[in-house]
Symmetry: C2
Subunit: 94 residues, 2 copies
Amino acid sequence: MAVITQYVVVRDGVEKMTFTSKKEADAYDKMLDIADSLIPFIEQAECGLDEATIEKLAFYFATRKDDLSSLLKGNATEKAAEPVKKAAKKAEPQ
Amino acid sequence: MAVITQYVVVRDGVEKMTFTSKKEADAYDKMLDIADSLIPFIEQAECGLDEATIEKLAFYFATRKDDLSSLLKGNATEKAAEPVKKAAKKAEPQ
């Protein structure tokens, strides 16, 4: 029999994502932290958005944080505006 | 008589903001560029937002780009989440 190691990102007791590498699990966990921190920030824009939309936007910005950071620095290159390919295959959503 | 120098930020022929210092005018102009570049980026979130909301969000993110950049780096400090005081008095909206 073989023993494999799984790294599971858990939020409020819910298993969010399983990874085979700790590095990826940590990166995903950090990304979820960033998404959480963006929620109050987006709320302050006072655009009358509902909670689900704010969470979706926060998650989207967190997943594309490098592109967004680049745009915020004024690098409005085509590349930053391009949609990124879907998340890496290895991560299996729970 | 006195001669004063005004720096007016113009967009698509519309006078957006008048400044008494070139530096501030350039900064505001750059901020508007950043806001413009964020519009397609926010559209790609596919949250079903209307154009006016996307523009308002883009402008808001551009005006608070330092706080947002800090959050994207994972510095979810209280300071970054705090609303910033209104824009400096000197800038008179057109």
